[in-house]
Symmetry: C2
């Protein structure tokens, strides 16, 4: 017997007991009085979490469903969209628009680095008539975050393009004032930095985005944003049966996050990230992402020579009950990845760091035991 596993994945994450408890509230009518109270509150709190006055919608789907929603509502077939691609999720973002017929211009980004403002400006100069720029803010497959995001947004808007941000793995875990940064469509998911079980996607829609949607007419039934708006406005309901229990959970998670305050909630992720990076550096490990683009929510750590990621992950899971991720595709055994999302306290940090130290040690890694912790603990003083 042991405690539940410590889920240090880049989603799903550990879910706080109060959120789990809320998920099991008795069933209600999704077209009745209780839902009419819940749904507007959920959407209002979502705006606070997104830091925007844009419309917000909660979809019953994974984050990829949120991306599909953007792709099927926004561009018309043949219209041009610029998508920086430097990893699996950038590819998926580009693919979603391609499936719906957009003319997708891939802006190739070196793996481990993030697109820069100059690269985007240059691409927009080269390409004519780009209707939208869609950026993965945090590329989970490589542990990189786009530090130039606000400037890229400005460049997009100056060029008359919509600014779409896939923030699935990062919203709540790093700076992203959706309103201030003029993000037209921002997508996130429940199971990352919002500390809620998986199954919900959130999508924000600016006034500019609405103009495009109304012109394009959604090419989807299930993700039709015009229907979502109509049902919200006329009935305080969703057009299709929502995952009621996950709505309960997200409602509770929002209350928890807003009690903490958005700045503090994000700040916890940043502080824990500093401690993690310092710990792994102290252990002599290196990171997959270039330094300026390192993610605060997903750490992609290079495997030391002669130790396989598979063995490390198995040791972590079986001996310590700590679950981390491997790499995607050809990075499968080259890196391991830790999610720093949602519940972020000194305990998650020290447990994960210690477990990695212990596991690597057993697998023959030459570092001195305790170096990781020695580097991490001083940085946890204000977490």
């Amino acid at each position: 017997m042991s405690l539940p596993q410590l889920i240090m994945l880049p989603g799903p994450t550990n879910v706080p007991p109060r959120v789990y408890a809320a998920m099991c509230k008795p069933m209600i009518n999704h077209r009745g009085a209780e839902f009419h109270e819940l749904y507007p509150r959920l959407l209002e709190n979502a705006k606070k979490v997104f830091q925007t006055e844009s419309d917000l919608f909660v979809l019953t789907s994974s984050g990829t469903g949120g991306v599909e929603c953007a792709a099927s509502n926004l561009l018309l077939p043949g219209e041009k969209i610029l998508v920086p691609v430097g990893g699996t999720f950038g590819e998926r973002l580009a693919d979603a628009f391609r499936v719906y017929g957009a003319n997708v211009v891939d802006l190739k980004v070196e793996t481990g680095s993030a697109p820069t403002t100059d690269q985007v400006r240059e691409a927009l100069r080269r390409e004519k008539d780009v209707k939208a720029v869609a950026v993965i803010y945090n590329e989970t497959s490589t542990g990189t975050t786009v530090r130039d995001l606000p400037e890229i947004g400005k460049v997009a808007k100056e060029n008359g393009a919509l600014f779409i941000v896939d923030a699935i793995s990062v919203l709540g875990g790093d700076d992203l004032p959706v309103g201030k940064w003029e993000v037209d469509v921002c997508i996130t998911a429940s199971q990352k930095c919002l500390a809620t079980p998986p199954g919900l996607a959130l999508v924000s829609v600016s006034k500019d985005a609405w103009r495009v949607i109304e012109r394009s007419k959604p090419r989807t039934e299930y993700f039709d944003l015009i229907k979502y708006r109509k049902f919200r406005d006329e009935k305080k309901e969703t057009p299709f049966t929502p995952a009621v229990n996950l709505f309960f959970a997200l409602d509770e998670a929002f209350q928890m996050i807003l009690e903490t305050g958005m700045e503090a909630w994000i700040g916890r992720h940043k502080k824990a990230a500093r401690a993690y990076y310092s710990a792994f550096k102290g252990m002599g490990l290196s990171f997959f992402a270039e330094e300026r683009s390192r993610s605060n929510v997903v750490l992609a750590i290079n495997m030391p020579p002669k130790i396989s990621a598979k063995d490390l992950r198995e040791k972590l899971r079986k001996k310590y009950g700590v679950v981390v991720a491997g790499g995607f595709g050809n990075l499968k055994d080259a890196i391991f990845r830790i999610g720093n999302m949602g519940i972020v306290t000194p305990r998650e940090v020290i447990t994960t760091v210690s477990a990695v130290e212990g596991s690597l040690h057993e697998l023959g890694y030459p570092g001195t035991l305790g170096e990781g912790l020695r580097a991490a603990i001083p940085l946890l003083s204000d977490l």
Copy 2:
């Protein structure tokens, strides 16, 4: 203080405690060993519940997402599909295919009745080159079930058309041997007769359907069945993060249903339906659906003169904690609807019947109190 509401809706339904408890099992890695055990078991059990050897997939979406999955995977733009339409959900089914460019031939069915084999045969004779026939098995908005379903399927297959069945509100609550009836694509959802919270859709795919999908190439990223098959076969995983907790819940619900046995599980719905119909008839009420097409899972009951459905539903909810549905669209105040789904025991029946009797009485309905129960109870002897 009172007990939780009794949710007698046509979905979501009351969820058994063991299913709720399973939903709150500790989080796991959706790309790890625990999921690799869960997912194949879930799909195998789904086949037993669907009574088919076809492939089964579980999607993180509402039932409408399952319909969108069928529409975006199957027909090519311009290809003809015949859809009998006699209510809101028939319209939605037709719309989903229309959104993806199919040439949808609506076969108009009188509201309150269900399409017959002759109507479908006649339409297939009139229309040339119909690639698929898609039927709502149970039209929730009107409380009708297509009693000719197996014969309609035969006619479709004889004409070389795929046979698609939207069984969202009924699978598990009425006869539907998907294999024996040669249904190519059958869609259902978690929150109806499977007694699980909302948020999952299930889709079966026959060999004939695969041939069409492989030719058509899915025009969706999120619902791409070829990806779902690939990830299942190669990894025992879903391509995108699933609603893990709802998978736990559905897994438990399937075990519960299969312990009961499919025939007995369906039989309970039939027996309870008989008792309900008898009770309401005993109270002098009439039904919206024609007799031969009456649904066993959704009872659509005409409001007696001078009593509003809104008042009845409010009385039921506030005084008795029993939640029933009104009508859709222009039937909003003309009928009320009771879901007989999932947890079906004598207690649900007597509580609902008694609460309707009490509420109508208070609202001035002239019937004699107790007539409903008197008609229902003898029919509950073998439930």
